[in-house]
Symmetry: C2
Subunit: 223 residues, 2 copies
Amino acid sequence: MTEPANSGASNVPSLLVDRPGASDEARADILKAAAIAFNARGFEATSIDDVADVLGASKGRIYHYYRSKADIFLDLHLESLRILIDRVGSIAARPDLGPVQRVREMCFAHAIEVMTRINYQKATMLGLNRFLLSVSAPYQEAARQRVNELRDEYEDLFVRVIAKGVEAGEFRPVEPRFASKPLLGALNYVANWYEEDRDDPLDAVEQIAAALADYCVRGLTQS
Amino acid sequence: MTEPANSGASNVPSLLVDRPGASDEARADILKAAAIAFNARGFEATSIDDVADVLGASKGRIYHYYRSKADIFLDLHLESLRILIDRVGSIAARPDLGPVQRVREMCFAHAIEVMTRINYQKATMLGLNRFLLSVSAPYQEAARQRVNELRDEYEDLFVRVIAKGVEAGEFRPVEPRFASKPLLGALNYVANWYEEDRDDPLDAVEQIAAALADYCVRGLTQS
């Protein structure tokens, strides 16, 4: 099995309106505020006004960057997946690590990401397809499609390394795609129980992530 | 540590309107239809009419049993937790099984429950607190509170058996409550990836559940 290039994150589109001066920073600020608003009220009940309130800015400022609430929600998913694929993909591609250590570090990085950007992850757990039944513009349909592709691509990062570990006899003879499910479930569930206001120092977050990664890897290894 | 009585499921209230002839069967039919409707549209966008459509009955029939959409949603959570606590609680209380085997069978039963009642589990994953900001009647507040208590009670079933396994040296020296999180995450995530329309025969469902239980238990055992 050849190692595919870590190509996913570089071609993730953004739904940011293409304007001179539309910065990554403005995008990040809006997405962060939107994630907080969506988590507090759910997607349907959240208005652009609510997002503006959290941001401490005017509605006009948000419309300068995004066409609609649906666009922000879609962009939140894209950005969240881009970050995960960036971080975890770079570990998945490391030839110096054996499969066991690689899966461990991938799980660790994923858990850290969920805990340190808990609002993003909670918002993406609100689901996507259900909320965007009314999405109709072609660019929105394309973005929704891209979210699903990126999700598969992200899962594939784990599937491939698990397959390598099985080939190498370092993991049990599990079916790699099936085995990736409880592993990702254990990690994603962090968004349900880790409190966003815990404000743990980084070493406490890392300790939690390491324990989770250990749990996930043990499920795969030979006993 | 003494084995607490499996007391949880017996005192789970229902939000069914107290009427002569209000049967468990009618309740189950409405909850099942509501779960399908909530999953298709989300909580806010679902109307009693939508539930009636899925049920193939009139809106009046539903109002005969439930006061509101919020009541149905609350009852869905209560019923789902009652079933889980019933099934898994009876395994947790079995003195003939050692902790490792007990956790395995508890995980197995939980996974089976998620797969065979996937609409209930998906609907409860929509979350509760966010959607019921407007709930104000005291009986609804009490029901919401009860849902959270039952969720804790359910988690405690796992925490206690994990603690026993640690005491007995059959599990690694994990912190039992912390260890219950990835375990439940791995199991609950099934609602995200198992397709409701797969219509697998029971032995296929059991095979999946056994593989998941195996994964979950391995995360806890000494290597």
